[in-house]
Symmetry: C2
Subunit: 238 residues, 2 copies
Amino acid sequence: MITAIKACIFDVFGTVVDWRTSVSRDLAAFTATKGITGIDWLKFSDAWRKQYRPSMDEVRSRRRDWTILDELHLESLVKLLGEFGVTGLSEADILHMSHAWRRLDPWPDSVPGLTRLKTRFIIAPCSNGNIALIVNMAKYAGLPWDCVLGAEPARAYKPDPEAYVASCRMLDLKPSQVLMVAAHNGDLRAAKAQGLGTVFVPRLTEHGPHQQIDVVPDPSCVDIVAVSFTELATKLGC
Amino acid sequence: MITAIKACIFDVFGTVVDWRTSVSRDLAAFTATKGITGIDWLKFSDAWRKQYRPSMDEVRSRRRDWTILDELHLESLVKLLGEFGVTGLSEADILHMSHAWRRLDPWPDSVPGLTRLKTRFIIAPCSNGNIALIVNMAKYAGLPWDCVLGAEPARAYKPDPEAYVASCRMLDLKPSQVLMVAAHNGDLRAAKAQGLGTVFVPRLTEHGPHQQIDVVPDPSCVDIVAVSFTELATKLGC
């Protein structure tokens, strides 16, 4: 099977980068410069992430026209700043904070693993992040993508089938020639249903030290398990 | 002006890569293995390139549904093989030959120049080539793009305004924050009309030793002239 693989595509938030630590630290540091204190930014980041799925579901259900993730993040942020009682920020400040998702640190194995995988495969994000978000993050984190696939060019949010199918089609590859890499069983289940190969890379602290979900792979939808991107590179002969 | 620039986007065929030499050499070498001789492959490549604009115009005019360039190339190739009297090739052979446009050599300054420009700017193709074509070419030629913009994600062929405007929008940049780099005045005229900055890099042998077009920049639409990508990198402080 591995000999037929031409591309590895990746979930990004949680799989490639550590959003929770990065967002909370970014917001804490920025708001401190504005004299804002006393907010639990880890709790804030978790609450922000909880808005992610429902905000995309508005688009997925066609109740709302196509909207990129940067805009959904901004709307959720404005709402949460109100709920957490954060005031005194300018529009430019809030826009800057909404782009915290463009400034996420990679897991330690992400860049070395991707760099090795890139020598043999096309590597691309298949994320719900829009192109500007993903490109700026790649510049920030040093992620060596070959191109940016996923939600924006596909005009579909995962786990909708079109997000995976269009990503393969844009590479002119059959789904069976593409591996989807994610730390989330749900993402891999949706990719597997479209015929992609699947790789589970556990990220046991994505949601903090007491994480209970996606701790183990679901054997019904996972082809390969690797503890890191570097182990994946080794398993794939890179 | 240069301090505001965040991204450089590039025409590819002719500007980054030498399509004429590469396509003709690729076809000659491949068909030789099939026992086909006596064809002037440079003439064939010129004829193939002449089909490029009319084939896209069918799509641009909406007489034809959106069709990627790989497919247009394949159709033109089939037609020209007939005209040149080339026979005895399998469907797989012809598909392989149509992908000659994925195997183009860069001009000598392209990779060193792009590598330097990438340290300071987002660099991306804004080409009429589809994503699979551009990504495979990048792997072949070592082109270090940050992402792939242009016709396929924009769903518009240059010189239609949307090809340029969508490329800026996908980067979340204003046109004034983006430089369009091309060896073709027509491309730059269309980009300039949408508010992008423009860079002319002459490629004096793109069409062979007797080239007459695009030998000098048109000052009405060109902001910066550089003789190479490395000179452009120097001019932009990279």
